[in-house]
Symmetry: C2
Subunit: 191 residues, 2 copies
């Protein structure tokens, strides 16, 4: 599970044993049970979390009590309320586990220590966030331009495995539609 994050980081920057051990020494690991919160809106997001096992979601709750999923994270993904983490202010999003999960976590102080000792990590997180940005932009663009059916088809082609793994109403929440309507969309597609 440490190997997992090492391979992940090594895709973007060079890292020798000593450097990696230093990085690891500043992280902690953690297990979450299904349905357990990693973060609740209003708390400060203390960690960026790398998922080594399981599946989590970040979501907001609107005035009517409805949930809106902004991100899923499975193996090899990072998850946090980034704004809360960076500014150490109360979180807007909730994060919880959709399956029993395992994480490697890093605190803000530790991350800044890493940035100063191992500046290539600036690069690593710059690249990661750039990728996250462009895919978020494409998701926004789809939600501006396409119909719910378009977005659903795009979702299952981008993330085929999620289709198996996630309950339908979670996918509906991610797509920004009601669970009932997703059911109707699927019914239509199957003919």
């Amino acid at each position: 599970m440490q190997e997992m994050i090492r391979r992940h980081i090594s895709q973007y920057i060079e890292l020798n044993d000593e450097q990696f051990d230093y990085f690891l020494s500043l992280t902690t690991s953690r297990k979450l049970r299904k349905k357990q919160y990693l973060l609740q809106a209003g708390e400060v997001c203390r960690y960026e979390s790398f998922v080594t096992k399981g599946c989590l979601r970040a979501y907001s709750i609107d005035e009517k009590g409805k949930e809106h999923i902004v991100q899923f994270a499975t193996e090899d993904w990072w998850i946090a309320d980034l704004n809360s983490f960076l500014t150490q202010t109360p979180a807007f999003y909730n994060i919880d586990a959709l399956e029993d999960s395992e994480l490697i976590q890093i605190e803000k102080n530790a991350l800044e220590q890493i940035y100063s000792c191992l500046p290539q990590f600036e690069r690593f997180f710059r690249i990661k966030i750039q990728k996250a940005f462009t895919s978020l932009q494409s998701r926004l663009n789809e939600s501006l331009s396409g119909t719910a059916t378009d977005r659903y088809l795009s979702f299952i082609s981008k993330y085929p495995s999620f289709e198996q793994r996630l309950p339908q109403h979670q996918v509906a929440s991610y797509l920004g539609i009601s669970a009932e309507f997703l059911s109707k969309i699927r019914q239509n597609l199957s003919k």
Copy 2:
């Protein structure tokens, strides 16, 4: 106008005269007339552009020929098709000028040279893109959770000056609604 970008960068990282001059020596400046393209979908996005004057937009065009604005950029903003710029592949978005504009541009090679000579620029662009990410996330969340009226109100409170500066149908395109419907929303709000 060089002063403008210097102040902008100095908000995030330390920069002495020599370093700034080196940075500047790797940039070029450019003027655009209203309606002129900075980038057309299909071209490779060669530059990240910092706006010192004027206003630009990045937008996609869907199958039906409709435009969807993903970003505006006025003074002190950066604009690019980031995915195209980073991977040097054909752009998905178009970028053009909504007003006569002036830019400071940097090419990918130049930027990488800067990253290696002045590593604090890694930090600068990491921070910039993190902010862009969190505000994009909040925009997506609004489009998942709220009605068009909510999004319009949020838009004018976040960017009051845009309201003056931009034609209404551009705002509508940014919000993901038709120009006619925005007109109807405004009519309702004014009573």
